[in-house]
């Protein structure tokens, strides 16, 4: 069996809120493999975003240990090996859609044909027409699609998407998910997708649930 993408043991993340500690994630233990499709569900404030950030190495656990056996150290994950799609709009305003999508490639210093890769990613989400537009000229749904395109452009081993369809109407959300899953079909890239929407969760192979920071993976580690 190949190395796991992520191995987490008793991972906890506690924030200080006005002096008193708040545990956003408590003692989470899980393992993520190549090609996994996981829906992360839970109510608002249950710790989904926190957990995704821990998975991306963007945040450090307050307790427990998290490792990326197949990927490397926490500092080397972004943007080449893991891609994040944020819950909030996260495009750079002064850059065009194409430039925004190219950013992970430029930041990771990846060789190869950047233009070709960007065009391909844009095409995946039917964004070719918008390549030269600025973010302020886009609708909310278009912004989310660009963020998706930016996530897949570097062919990462793991994509972490934080409520990518949260702000979209159902049909649009479904279309976006179709495009993403279609793109990933048959590839080794793993996907973890946080959502409130059971309909979205249904389309994933596994569902992990967060309740007040407690993670239930549905399968024993």
């Amino acid at each position: 069996m190949a190395d796991a993408l992520i191995e987490a043991r008793d991972v906890g993340r506690t924030y200080l809120q006005g002096g008193s500690p708040v545990a956003a994630v408590r003692s989470a233990t899980f393992r993520l493999q190549e090609g996994d499709r996981v829906a992360l569900i839970g109510r608002s404030g249950s710790g989904k975003t926190t957990l995704l950030h821990l998975m991306a190495g963007l945040d450090r656990p307050s307790s427990g240990a998290i490792r990326w056996p197949a990927l490397g150290g926490a500092d080397t994950l972004l943007p080449a090996k893991i891609a994040l799609v944020f819950q909030v709009p996260s495009l750079l305003d002064p850059l065009t859609v194409a430039e925004n999508v190219a950013l992970p490639l430029i930041l990771s210093g990846a060789g190869g044909d950047v233009r070709q890769a960007v065009l391909h990613a844009l095409a995946t989400f039917a964004l070719e027409e918008l390549a030269d537009k600025l973010p302020e000229e886009l609708s909310g749904g278009q912004v989310q699609r660009v963020a998706m395109a930016r996530a897949i452009v570097g062919r990462p081993s793991l994509i972490l998407a934080d409520e990518p369809t949260g702000q979209l109407d159902r049909a649009t959300g479904r279309a976006l998910l179709d495009a993403l899953l279609g793109h990933l079909a048959g590839s080794a890239t793993a996907l973890v997708l946080a959502t409130h929407d059971p309909a979205v969760a249904e389309r994933m192979a596994a569902t992990w649930q967060l309740r007040d920071g407690v993670l239930a993976t549905g399968s024993p580690p």
Binding site: L58, L78, L84, L103
Partner: protein
């Protein structure tokens, strides 16, 4: 509600509020200090000018008038400090016997002065030999008659027997022009040359000799009352002081009702100083105004920077039902508080600055101070209210999204305002150029002065036009030149260069404003500094021209300073010493000063500026003189009077040492001299000392010029010891002279103002660069959060920051310095009338410029490093703040 709002503003917008307050404080301080300085400098100018008047009023009595009655009338018309009687008698000639020969002169004057005259009017004579008690003879008369202390002079009185007097002292009459002026002659009439032959007697002796003459020839004897007025209460503005003095004079005219005429020397001097005072005012305003403007612009920039926050606050207020009027009231209240705090702070700063720079405990509670405060309040309203009003008017929360990307060129760009301003500047400048830079006009005899203020429009327009042009070019460069920009940024930004260039290009508005502000600050600093150094160098040239050199030792024909040349040259601190003859020579009937020099070496000890000579080439002219043993340089008037062509022979009469008589000596005219160290402003001659010595048999040189390496005053002190046993030999240093040149504007000490300006300019440059970057970078927090979350390394974030910062710095600095030089050049040209001779080149304050660039670099670095420290906050945290 207002209180709550203000508390909220203070809590959430500390930085912006503090910045706005600081900007307003700086603006107010600058204005107030400028006001104090203007008042102070006009006051100093007026005081100095007045102090330079030896006798304020000369009242000439009509024959038969009562002296005590008129003295009383003068006392009633004005506040009199001292009053003395002076008798004037015309005589047919003077005669003296010496060494078996008889010397006679033409017509002359004998003055009778009462006791205490010399004490109360010390400016009237300078004792050269003997004592001031008894009969005195003017230096030139003594030379003409070959007499000294103890000799007898015969006075030929018209219609009476000759009288004899024994000479007790020889004096120089530095103020002869006004002492012997024709009282009652309308101004503008041909001025009378002062008499060559003058004897001064105690009043009692004078009455004994000339009361009989008055009986025979009443019109050959006159009595004047010489008055020194109390100066303490005179207004500090020369124009106002002039009116006060003229009022007193009119009062006297009414009281004396035809029993005499007044020569108002004080009024004449005040009249003359008015134009200088106005020049000074214009100049100070001109030097100060851009600084004030810069401070105001910076304030506006800081205030506007909080835009997005403010819009959000406003949107929230509106959501909660606040009307636009209420929102504006809140903004106005905020602006009022900021204005008052900033204004008070500014005034306090001004008090400190005034104390530190001028050593004055001067109050800033003057009309100027009040105006400054008012300006501060106004600035606060404009800075805070205007953007709030604009937001309230046309921005919805949605439209408040970032204003970037392609926009239509603004109105001024479409109509080409920058080009128009620059053209206008050139036209105005050309106009004042063609009128010979006569910026200040003060027609003599009228109380009205006029300043061609529009001449100063040229640099103002240049400043504005250059600013706008910078904005246009930047915009163009950033938008169109993105590929080139990316190439330029590659060394700093590496692979990110393209992205950085794109980002910079799309935010060209913010960047361009930054560049323009930095450039303007640099232009202000550079022009002030360049102008200042040039001005100081010129003040030095002026003083050197008057004094002759750093230290000048002046002797007489009989006691030539050159006798001690070796000892003087050997003193510590002396870098070079040169002897220079100072003789008198008749050019036709005109007696002129003749300077005999070693043309090849005179430049070692004193400054020989190109402006001194026609043709503008000092070294060529002096070389020509050195090659022509009998060559002579003469003034333009002499060339015109004698229709001289280069190479023509010119015969002068020089005094020979053997017989003391004037004998013809032939010279060859080789050039025109306009100014020369120690020479008077009117006609004079310059020739080779060796030739003059050979022709006159007198090899000594009256003057020794010293160039010093250490403080001139100290060297002068030593020199006095070297020559202390030589009668009549005087030592002066350049510092003394600088204080003495009274009415010349160059003598006005710009020191205080320029020190303030230079400090202020450094602050502005630091503020502008640091602030623009800090504000810009603060706006970029979100971008950095996104970049970090995407996995950008600190190195990559730094590249982003440094690229932007260095671009701003490089463009702003270079444009600013270039514009600063242009401005300084224009200013110096416009003020040509102030400089005599005008400067040949701009003096560049390299050290200051280096300091300025250094300060700007440090503040760039500080801004970037501060912004980089911000990026240490974990990206997750940042993302949540979005």
């Amino acid at each position: 509600m207002i209180g709550l709002w203000l508390a909220g503003q203070v809590r959430w917008h500390k930085g912006r509020l503090a910045g706005t307050v600081a900007g307003i404080a700086l603006t107010v301080a600058m204005l107030a200090v400028l006001g104090v300085f203007l008042d102070q400098s006009t006051m100093t100018m007026t005081r100095r000018a007045i102090a330079g008047v030896p006798v304020d009023w000369q009242f000439q009595l009509a024959p038969g008038s009562s002296t005590p009655a008129l003295a009383a009338a003068i006392g009633k018309a004005a506040k009199v400090a001292v009053l003395h009687i002076a008798g004037y008698a015309d005589v047919d000639g003077l005669e003296a016997h010496s060494g078996g020969t008889v010397q006679t002169t033409g017509a002359g004057k004998v003055l009778g002065l009462d006791a205490g005259y010399a004490r109360d009017f010390p400016g009237q004579f300078r004792l050269l030999l003997g004592s001031l008690d008894g009969a005195l003879i003017a230096q030139q008369t003594a030379a003409n008659l070959h007499v000294g202390v103890g000799d007898i002079v015969t006075i030929h009185r018209p219609g009476l027997a000759s009288a004899l007097v024994r000479i007790d002292g020889v004096v120089d009459l530095p103020n002869a022009d006004s002492l012997f002026q024709a009282v009652g002659v309308p101004p503008g009439a041909a001025p009378q040359a002062p008499p060559d032959n003058v004897i001064l007697l105690p009043l009692a002796s004078w009455h004994r000799l000339f009361d009989p003459q008055a009986a025979v020839h009443p019109d050959s004897v006159r009595t004047q009352l010489h008055v020194g007025l109390v100066h303490a209460g005179l207004p500090s503005d020369p124009s106002v002081a002039l009116m006060t003095v003229q009022g007193a004079a009119r009062n006297l005219a009414a009281r004396s009702a035809g029993s005499g005429v007044l020569a108002d020397n004080l009024a004449a001097r005040l009249d003359a100083v008015r134009s200088d005072a106005l020049y000074a005012k214009v100049l100070f305003l001109f030097l100060g105004a851009p600084g004030v403007l810069m401070a105001a612009l910076l304030t506006l920039a800081v205030a506007a920077a909080g835009g997005s926050h403010r819009r959000r606050d406003q949107a929230l207020l509106r959501v909660r039902g606040a009307s636009r009027k209420q929102i504006m009231t809140l903004a106005a209240a905020e602006a009022g508080c900021v204005g008052i705090v900033g204004g008070m702070l500014g005034l306090a700063l001004a008090v400190l600055a005034v104390r530190a720079l001028f050593g004055l405990a001067s109050s800033v509670i003057t009309p100027a101070g009040a105006a400054a405060l008012l300006a501060g309040l106004l600035l606060a309203q404009v800075a805070l209210l205007l953007p709030a009003w604009r937001d309230a008017r046309d921005r919805t929360v949605v439209a408040a999204r970032l204003a970037i990307g392609p926009e239509r060129p603004v109105l001024w760009q479409r109509i080409g305002l920058d080009g128009m301003l620059l053209m206008l500047s050139a036209v105005v400048f050309w106009q004042s150029w063609s009128s010979g830079y006569q910026v200040v006009l003060a027609p003599e005899g009228t109380p009205a002065t006029s300043v061609e203020y529009q001449a100063f429009l040229a640099p103002v327009l240049l400043w504005l036009g250059a600013g706008l042009l910078t904005i246009r070019l930047c915009r163009f460069g950033l938008v169109r030149g993105r590929a080139y920009l990316a190439r330029c940024l590659r060394p700093i930004a590496g692979a990110l260069a393209g992205v950085v260039a794109a980002s910079i290009g799309r935010q060209h508005r913010r960047l361009t404003q930054g560049v323009a502000l930095i450039a303007l600050a640099f232009a202000f600093a550079t022009s002030t500094a360049v102008f200042n150094t040039t001005y100081h160098a010129q003040a030095r040239v002026d003083a050197a021209l008057t004094n002759g050199a750093d230290v000048t030792v002046t002797g007489t024909l009989r006691a030539p300073a050159s006798a001690r040349l070796a000892a003087l040259a050997a003193m510590p601190g002396v870098n070079a010493a040169q002897a220079m003859q100072h003789r008198l020579a008749y050019v036709g009937n005109d007696l002129q000063d003749l300077y005999g020099i070693d043309a090849g070496r005179i430049g070692e000890a004193t400054l020989t500026s190109n402006a001194y000579f026609q043709g503008g080439d000092a070294s060529a002219t002096l070389a020509r003189l050195a090659q022509t043993p009998d060559g002579i340089l003469v003034s333009e008037e002499t060339v015109a009077d004698f229709q001289l062509q280069p190479g023509d022979r010119l015969t002068l009469r020089l005094q020979r040492a053997g017989d003391g008589q004037y004998h013809p000596v032939s010279f060859r005219f080789i050039g025109v001299v306009r100014e020369f160290p120690t020479a008077p402003h009117d006609s004079f001659l310059v020739a080779n000392a060796a030739y003059v010595a050979r022709q006159t048999g007198a090899g000594g040189a009256e003057i020794v010029l010293l160039r010093t390496g250490s403080a001139p005053a100290q060297v002068a002190e030593q020199a006095r010891k070297v020559v202390q046993d030589m009668p009549g030999v005087k030592v002066s240093d350049i510092g003394q002279v600088q204080q003495l040149i009274g009415s010349s504007l160059v003598a006005v000490d710009l020191g205080g103002l320029t020190r303030l300006q230079l400090v202020f300019a450094v602050l502005l440059v630091a503020g502008a660069t640091g602030l623009i970057l800090a504000l810009g970078l603060a706006d970029r927090r979100r971008a950095f959060a996104v970049l970090t979350a995407l996995g950008a390394k600190p190195r990559q974030l730094a590249a982003f920051l440094w690229s932007e910062a260095l671009l701003l710095f490089a463009v702003g600095t270079s444009v600013g310095i270039a514009a600063g030089f242009g401005l300084a050049w224009m200013l110096v040209k416009l003020l040509t009338g102030v400089f005599d001779p005008p400067p040949e080149v701009l003096d560049v304050p390299w050290a200051y410029l280096v300091l300025l660039i250094g300060v700007a670099l440090v503040s760039v670095a500080l801004a970037v490093l501060t912004a980089l420290r911000e990026t240490d906050v974990p990206a997750v945290q940042r993302m949540r703040e979005l």
